[in-house]
Symmetry: C2
Subunit: 318 residues, 2 copies
Amino acid sequence: MASEPEVIRDKTAMRRWSRSHRSKGKTLAFVPTMGFLHEGHLALVRAAGALADLTVVSVYVNPGQFAPSEDLDAYPADLRGDLHKLADLGVHAVFCPTNLYDYGEGGGRGEVQARRTEGAVGSSGLPVSCLEAAAGDGSGHETWVRVEKLERGLCGMSRPVFFRGVATVVAKLFNIVEPDIAVFGKKDYQQWRIICRMVRDLDFAVKIIGSEIVRESDGLAMSSRNVRLSPEEREKALSIYKSLSKAKYAALHEQSTCQELKSLVVQLVTEAGGIIDYVEIVEQESLIPVEEINRPAVICIAAWFGTVRLIDNMEINP
Amino acid sequence: MASEPEVIRDKTAMRRWSRSHRSKGKTLAFVPTMGFLHEGHLALVRAAGALADLTVVSVYVNPGQFAPSEDLDAYPADLRGDLHKLADLGVHAVFCPTNLYDYGEGGGRGEVQARRTEGAVGSSGLPVSCLEAAAGDGSGHETWVRVEKLERGLCGMSRPVFFRGVATVVAKLFNIVEPDIAVFGKKDYQQWRIICRMVRDLDFAVKIIGSEIVRESDGLAMSSRNVRLSPEEREKALSIYKSLSKAKYAALHEQSTCQELKSLVVQLVTEAGGIIDYVEIVEQESLIPVEEINRPAVICIAAWFGTVRLIDNMEINP
């Protein structure tokens, strides 16, 4: 029976915990999450546990990566369940701050505007996240980390504030937790590449590990959003995994062109009732679209089933 | 006689030096510079020396904050002289990397395009710095820290890539040097406020100190660019200090409106032969323009004398 993880809610206390252990020569692996943990997250936590002396998991639904039109309000939460699962895995600390953007007296309270509003565009014409209130005395959060090329394609097309918010909150968490290693899931492929690039470009002293996608027994990639699928939608959503698998096979064994591969996936998912956001085949590091798979590539998809947007991907190494 | 500072050129060696001292309980103060040190820089270094056990100074002309149309090529350098001055002040380490944006094999070499070119706008329509080569395989530096509101006004108007580049290189340097304290000059007022905000918003564990402007005996604010002024231009440039002083006096003793104060400065500097870039009166923290000085404000100016652009400012605390 593992001991309970220490639950830390305060930034300063988190950094103190981390420094006190690091000063004794302990190494620290970190897994940032938005909670509602499933087997996919737990695989990341296990990977982290194998790589360092101590494991820290953060649980924080980051308003900075949601547009006001998106599903921040509907994002599922279960902190008690999460803590049980993490205790079972021997996690040493769980960082679950109330509001990472509250800078105290006269320093912006990090109010969140989570109601669904259309036209999520600020006075500057730039898109805004749930974090940025309409009014402001100039004291609110306004620093954003942009990975300017990688953030643009794929999910960045339909979610213009998403990766700005992800990179920024991860930078904050790295500065608070000060880990040696951080583990990210390759299900969020673009996110993982963006974090790798950010760490390189900003010289963070953190080693990033990409962990393989964990799937349900029928192939559906694990996601916190899966619980919002009806049984029928869930069945239809299997078309994602099936079509990616077929495309990968075709790429490796049938010399199909990228255009043919993409059409195959679009067709199978659409026939199953999904609404395609995008299907792209891109280089694994630069995420630049490829015409032909003659180097390591990845096929990425986002599609809606009912009100739920799912993403998935499959690496193709020719 | 102080001992020579350790000269460190490599990121990893710098972090190792820093961590080895911090692990022994030493505190570290850091002064980032672009070299060609004058008395203004040395005041920052002295302030740093008084605040921590060890002082680290970086000397690096950052291509990421210059537009291709600006004066990167012409920026003066004298590393040998700088090292002598820093040795005299008892600085413990000088970090002078060759290229902070060289990420090694297959990771972007950080080539710098320093030739004067017009139309410094990338394919995305965004402005680009000297760092971003026209062509690219997607492996170059592309992560930028944006302090979205504070970076917009004042110098941000005529130098659209400047603060993006400053915030980014300071984030890199903080991650490499890992100081407890960093000292910035209030001559670069907007820069200082941007760094303060970045540190707050990204939760850097670094305390920022703002150090007062150091002036020549005749009032000219010290700047590495002053050496490029002809004797006549230098004489004319004194109009900056004189006009700011008059405006401050008028603000405190004559109930002048901000419009009157700005007109006064514009008139005096223009009469002396300067070309005004901007004169603004803004709140000290938010840098939001004020109509009336009923709270701490600062009057900021940028003006050209010949080919040299000078900036200066004066706080007004009513």
